[in-house]
Amino acid sequence: MKYFEDIAVGARIAVGSHTFKADEIKAFAVRFDPQPFHMDESAAENSHFGALCASGWHSAVVWMRLMVDYRRRMMEAARARGEPVAAMGPALSVRELKWLKPVYVDDTIDYASEVIEARVSKSRPGVGLLSIYSTGVNQRGETVLSFISTTFVERRPVTS
């Protein structure tokens, strides 16, 4: 895993993709977002969405899971090469989170993330802050969600 100094603004990664099944859409909604159009097909058909669709929080947390899995693969590869592994996270904030289109049953969302800003933390000199623009695109090429997160990443240790 790269240190703050190794990460270039503009670097873009394919985070992964996920197909949203009816059962998991409903199970998530029952726990965290129990609105009728996320839990019940007939209620959803009678709503402005027209069909059962995932909670926007569900489509966002699936990005987080895929990102953690991606980072883990990168860390394992770095360790296998005998390279040091920089700590990353947690995030400080998310802004401009947009749910642009509903995520319907059996939609496959392809997530990508791009570093748009990198700066050193004023309060914590040992860490950098990355602003990351992430998107989810469905199988019809429509962007369904986008957001900007700001997260901590470890700086390269000073060696004497």
Partner: protein, 158 residues
Amino acid sequence: MHHEMSRKLHWEDFQAGAVTVYGPRLVTREEIVAFATEFDPQPMHLDETAARATILGGLAASGWHSCCLLMRMIADGFVNKSHSLGAPGVDEVRWLKPLRPNTRVRVRATVLETRASKSRPDFGFVKCLFEMLDEQGAVLTTLTSPLMVARRAAGARQ
């Protein structure tokens, strides 16, 4: 059924400046670890020893977990008692302090502004600031979002 529906809140029922508090809800270690295992399996959300070596300094909930808990608390609190049409997004989420295991959280909702939709006469926006608070009243997370709520009378300014 009609009477049940008609008791639900419309856009016109929300007033800028209104403040309501929802909860409390106890957030357990088990649910923090369960959420993280499923959606955010980073050491700081899974394991006390590993978490101590991170910026969080100890086990804490995923920030996304806080958002999801907040969503659940406002769904029970007022969203499902309104003619809600969901939300187009979230302006900003700030994770100010870690949410630790066995914290009893509340959510303070403040209506920042209400405005009609320019393109759609049948609903309006209710922009809210949501703050997740711990027992001492410290703000752990803030979230600002414009909710869409159906209007009682399409196009009429009440």
